[in-house]
Symmetry: none
Subunit: 199 residues, 4 copies
DNA sequence: GATGAATGAGCATTCATTCAT
DNA sequence: AATGAATGAATGCTCATTCAT
C-alpha cells in the first residue's frame, strides 16, 4: 500500500558453497579498501557492502571485527614473508615491501603499531604472532654487523618508520617513509608490493 | 510543554560559577587520563564522568570532541615551549621533555601524529599551529650542523620516536623511546616533565 | 575493540525478515497514533516503542524523521486519490475523505500545512509532490464554475479547514471542520475514510 | 595555564532593580523575534541571549517556557483589544490588526491555534482567556446580521485564516491571508499593527 | 536583582552482532 | 551457505531548569 522496499525485490543468487572462498577474498579486499579510506573504525557493514555480500557472510568467515582486521594484516605479512623468502631476496628489497604496506594502507599502519609495539591489546591474539613472523622473515636477511642487527632494532626501526607516516596524507607517505629510513641510515629498495607489479 | 523532573530527585551540589576553572582543569586532566587509557576514540561521557561533572559542562567548556583533545595537547605544547625557553636550555633537555610527553600520554602521541604528519584532518584547526609551535621552540636550540638541522628532520624524528612508542605498554615506552633516539644517533636528556619534578 | 553484550541477556524474538513488511506497517500505524497524540515533534523512540520494534528497525525503514512523516502522509494521500478516482466520485465526497483525514490525524494536518502553504522546509522533498497530488485528484472533480474553481482556491480552502481544526480536541474536530466548510459555502459529503467503512 | 575563557572576563554591569521592567520588555521582544525565526521550539537560551540578559533573569520573569510564549501572545492580544477599543474602530480594521499578527509571527499563529481552537493543552492557563478576550473585543464591533455574527463563527473564521497562513513563507502570508478572507466574503481593513505605524 | 555555570534527562543516530528465512 | 532484517546498547549532543555567587 505504501512504498514498500521489499515489494518486487529479488534476492541475489545464492551461489552455494562454491562462493565461500571467493567471498572470503572479497571481504578481505573490501576491508583493505574501506580501512584505507575510513580507517579502522569503519563500520563492518561498509565492508560487507563493498564486498557485495550480506553481513551474515562476514560473520561466518570472521567471528568479530578484530578478526577482519587480523585477516587483512595476515595477508600483508604473507607478502613480506614471500618477499623475504624469494630467491635473491635481500634486506633492502624486503624493507621496500614493508614500506609499501606502510604507505599503502592506513589500516596496516595502525595494525602494525598495535603489533610491533608488542603492547596494547593484541589484535585477536594474532598480533604478536604476526609481528614475530615479520621479524623472523626479515632477520633471515640481516647481514652480520648490519645497523639493525642488535636485538630489537629491526622492528623498532619499522615502527619508527610507520610513525613517520601515520596520519600523513596519502601522497606524502612514501616520501616521508624514505626520509625516515634515510635518517636511520638504512638502505631500502624500491617501495612496492610483492609480488612486485610487473615492471 | 515543560519537562517534568520527577519529584524527590536530589541534585548534586551545584558549586556555582566559582567551580568553572576547577572544572575546566578537571576535564583536561580527566581527558588526559582517559585518552591515555582508551585512546582518542574514548567516549566523551567517560571524560565527563572521570572529571566528576555533567556532560553539559564539558560542552560548555569545549564545543566538540576536538576541542577537548586540543586543550590537552595545548598544555603539553606549553610545557615544551617552557622547557625550550628556560635559561640554560639545550636541545637534549627539550627533547627529554618532548619524550616524556610521548611516553606519558597516548593522546599526545596521536595528536602529534595528526599534526606532525601534516595531513589527515587537522584537530580543530589547532593541530598544525601546535606542531609548528613545537618545531619553532625546538629549532631555536638546534646547534648548527646538528644531525636534525636539515629541513623537516626535526619533527620527522619526533614522529618516528612517537611511532616507536604508540601502542606499547606503559612501562615499555620510555625504554623504547630512548632506544629509538639512540638509533637516530640523537642525544636526549632526562625524560621528564617541565617544570621538572624536583630532583 | 568488540562490544561485549553481557552474558545471560535474552533477546526478544527476532522474527526474521518475514516481519519486515509487518514492521513497516506497524511503524506507520504507530507514527500516526503518536503524531496524533503528541504532534510531529514526538520522539521517534516513542514511535518505535509503540510499534514494538527496536529503534534500529525504524532507521532501516526510514532514513530520518521526515521520512516517517512522509510515509504517513503518503498513505493519506493515496486514500484521497482513491476516493477521487472511484467510480461515481464527486467533489463533495472526496472532500469528505480529505476532511476525515484532517479530523483524524493531527499529523496529517501539520504535514499538509507544511505543504499546502507551499513554504517552509518541504518535508523530505515529498511534501510538495503530495500536496500537488491532492490538488490534482480533487481538481478533476471540480464542476466548472464551482466556488473553488479559481486558481489556488481549492487548496487554500483545504488549508483553512485544517486551520479550523488544528489544536482542537479530538471530539470537536469534525464539528468544527463542517462548520468551516459551511462558512466557505462549500458542500461536503460524509466525513469518512476511503474505502468507506462499510455502512 | 590553558586558554581559560573566564580569565580576565568582566561581568556586565548589574543595573539593579531599575532594569527589571526593561529586561522584561526586552525578553518579550526577543522572544517574538526568536520565535518568528526559529519557531516555538527555539531554545530559551537563544531568547535570553538576544535579550542581552542571563538565563536566570528570564526565569525570574517567567516561571517556565510556556510563560514566555504566553507573554508574547498577551501583548498581541492587547493590541487587538486596543484596536477594537480605539475611537472609530470597526470590524474590518480590527481584523486587519488580527491579520497582521497572523502574518507577522509564526509564533503567534501557533499560539492562536492552540488557543482559538479551544483544545489541546492550554498555554499555561492563559490560552483560553486570551482567545476569549480576542473574541470579546471583536464581537463588540460586529454589526448585527454580519456574516460572522452566528455563534462561534467569528473565531472560527480567524482560525481558518490562520490555517491559510501557517507554514507559508513569510512573504506569501499576507497575500494568502487576504485571499482567505476574500473566500470567506469578509471585508478586512489594512493589515497593520496597532497602534498603526505612522502613515 | 543579575549572572551564567552546572546539572542531567532526553533524543537522534549508529553499528556490532544475532538469527529467521 | 547466504541474505539482510532485527535488536538495543552506546554515544554525541541539546536544552530546560536550578542555584552559587
Amino acid at each position: 500500500m505504501s512504498r514498500d522496499p521489499s515489494e518486487g525485490e529479488r534476492r541475489p543468487q545464492n551461489q552455494g558453497p562454491k562462493a565461500a572462498p571467493r567471498n572470503r577474498a572479497a571481504l578481505i579486499a573490501a576491508a583493505r579498501h574501506v580501512y584505507a579510506e575510513q580507517g579502522l573504525g569503519a563500520p563492518l557493514s561498509a565492508v560487507a557492502r563493498r564486498a557485495g555480500v550480506g553481513q551474515g557472510v562476514m560473520y561466518r568467515h570472521f567471528p568479530d571485527r578484530d578478526a577482519v582486521a587480523a585477516a587483512v594484516l595476515e595477508e600483508n605479512v604473507r607478502q613480506v614473508e614471500g618477499a623475504a623468502a624469494a630467491p635473491g631476496a635481500d634486506l633492502a628489497g624486503a624493507l621496500g615491501v614493508v614500506t609499501w604496506h606502510l604507505t599503502e594502507s592506513a589500516a596496516f599502519i595502525n595494525l602494525l603499531h598495535l603489533d610491533v609495539a608488542g603492547g596494547g591489546e593484541p589484535v585477536h591474539g594474532y598480533a604478536h604472532d604476526l609481528s614475530a613472523r615479520v621479524e623472523v622473515a626479515l632477520r633471515r636477511l640481516l647481514p652480520p654487523g648490519h645497523r639493525l642487527a642488535p636485538d630489537g632494532a629491526l622492528m623498532l626501526a619499522v615502527s619508527m618508520v610507520s610513525g613517520a607516516v601515520v596520519g600523513a596524507a596519502r601522497q606524502d607517505r612514501e616520501r616521508r617513509a624514505l626520509a625516515a629510513w634515510r635518517l636511520l641510515a638504512v638502505e631500502v629498495g624500491p617501495v612496492r608490493p610483492f609480488p612486485a607489479s610487473a615492471g
